[in-house]
Amino acid sequence: MDTEFNDKMPIYLQIIDIIKMDIVTGKLILKDKLPSVREMASNLKVNPNTIQRSYQELERLGIVFTQRGTGTFVGEGKEMVDDLKKEMAKEVIDSFILRMKSLGFNADEIIKSVSKETMEVKKNG
Amino acid sequence: MFKLIKYELRATFLTIVGICIFVIIANLLLMTRKGVWDITIISGLSVCLAIGAMVVIFISSLNIMSKYLFGDSGYLLFTLPQSGKSIITSRVLTALIQISIVIFASVFMCYLTVTDKIDLSFLKNFKASEVSYFIISYIWGIVYSLTFIYFCMVIGKVALKGKKIGKIGSFIIFILLSVVISWLSFKITNLLPQTLNLNDFSITTKNALINSNFTATGAAVNMNIASTVFDILTFVGLFTTTSYLIDKKLDLS
């Protein structure tokens, strides 16, 4: 797990993002057990209450569920991974579009440059 | 409290052993000079050694307390869940044990050095009552003076913040308090001259010419009742106040 945190924003949100990322990339699969609050806190050197908050928020969002005494587990919904993927992609795209717009690109230009760059990346492997 | 005593004895173990070994070796050396030097010189030196050792250990006992109050080791001691009473009692008792060990070693070596043959039969001459009176007075003397000095140290520290001033203050308080208490004791002895004869427990009224609060005339040992009571009350007052100050008022810088 990436332990480079940005201390300027709430850490619990960053932990949530890390876990979401792990789910999307397949590092964590459905029904996997998340590390205990203590383990995470120890590994990341973060306050256990912060980890707890992240887990609680993820549970509220329906991404994980907690079984008392056993631990916290990734949810079971098959669509969940896809939904998360789409949601995270949207965030990336939205902020990308905003930045491109601030550089002066209009919608067509944005689509053209994205196609061009994606082809380049594909060609270069 | 007994745990405190255990650790304090361990902490000063080397010092005690060091002093005793020094006294023993020095006396052995003196013994080798027996035919050569004048016996009075040998005795004199031996006695000096004994007195020196006693002074050293007594001052060491005071120094330990000083380090607690004015130095870093107090942080460990005063954060323990121990009451002021426990701390003072263990400190005084530890000091008593240490001083007694040194005194015993020094006096015994002194005796060995001075005497020509080892004949301990003179011990038979002592009566049990005299011995117990002697031991009680000895213990009382040490405990009282240590408590008195520790009281002055604690008051000095509490009343005058700051290390140097605190120590000087303690000393001044010691002088003042000694004078006051002696004067009061003297007045009381004269005001209430009833004395208790410890041999037959009779109460007589001693002549006011005899100013001391305890006299030993021949086989009789007398002590002034009123001043003894005063001494005991003073001791209790000093002890209680010191414990209270340690509990409630002591600030470690």
């Binding site: 709430p10 973060v46 306050n47 | 745990k3 902490a11 942080y75 869940p81 121990q82 509990d247 600030d251």
Partner: protein
């Protein structure tokens, strides 16, 4: 929930200066609180009052509902900033000492921590480097199951590897029934461990709050906030 530490308008005055001018700070169980401020701000003074070795001039402080005294000393585990370990001791003597005087001392945990910190039981306190002494002090303090841990500059004068270990030990020691109050200059290294922070300047708390909320609201790290408050 009852406060483990409750201070109301704590003042401490000396002849020539006022170290604390009315500090209000409450800590509930299960929290790690950072008390942040420069030298002379009064943070050590406050901690000493909570530890029971200093008495406030005015105001009230309660630890687990009690005025500092013999009981509070039995539930408070205090790590002072200075060299307070007895020099004649070996590491194992220090462990025994704590075991003898504190009912809540866990010897097994102490030995585990000593191993973790690479400390040899048989070394004398005198022979330890500054970093090793800090690790030993922390081992002893954290091996107690206290209600309140008071750590005064636990990372002071310690090299980065030792700091890692110390931070690890602190995080691993967290228990829901107990709380910690930690002071430090090295805010950057330790800020993720704090639940709440209180900035103290010249004897008064000038800013306090939940660390995450402060990050969200001010869009700054606690370290940056610290620099800002005390520039």
């Amino acid at each position: 929930m009852d406060n483990i530490l409750e201070s109301k308008k704590i003042c401490k005055s000396y002849l020539n200066k006022k170290a604390l001018r009315g500090v209000d700070l409450n800590i509930i169980p299960g929290k790690i609180v950072g008390l942040l401020g420069p030298n002379g701000s009064g943070k050590t003074t406050f901690l000493k009052i909570a530890a029971g070795i200093l008495h406030p001039s005015k105001g009230e402080i309660l630890i687990d509902g009690y005025i500092p005294g013999v009981y509070t000393k039995s539930v408070v585990s205090y790590l002072p900033d200075n060299e307070y370990l007895l020099k004649w001791m070996k590491v194992k003597d220090a462990v025994m000492y704590f075991k003898d005087f504190y009912a809540d001392f866990d010897e097994k945990k102490a030995r585990e921590l000593l191993l973790f910190m690479d400390l040899d039981e048989n070394s004398t306190v005198k022979s330890l480097s500054k970093g090793m002494k800090e690790k030993l002090k922390l081992t002893l303090v954290l091996s107690r199951a206290a209600k309140l841990y008071i750590l005064d500059e636990p990372l002071g004068g310690v090299d980065p590897t030792a700091r890692e270990k110390i931070l690890n030990a602190i995080v691993n020691n967290f228990r829901v029934e107990s709380s910690m109050i930690i002071t430090t200059h090295l805010v950057n290294d330790i800020e993720r461990i704090f639940d709440d922070v209180a900035f103290i300047s010249d004897g008064e708390i000038v800013l306090q709050g939940n660390a995450e909320e402060l990050r969200r609201d001010k869009k700054k790290s606690i370290d940056e906030l610290y620099r800002e408050v005390f520039q």
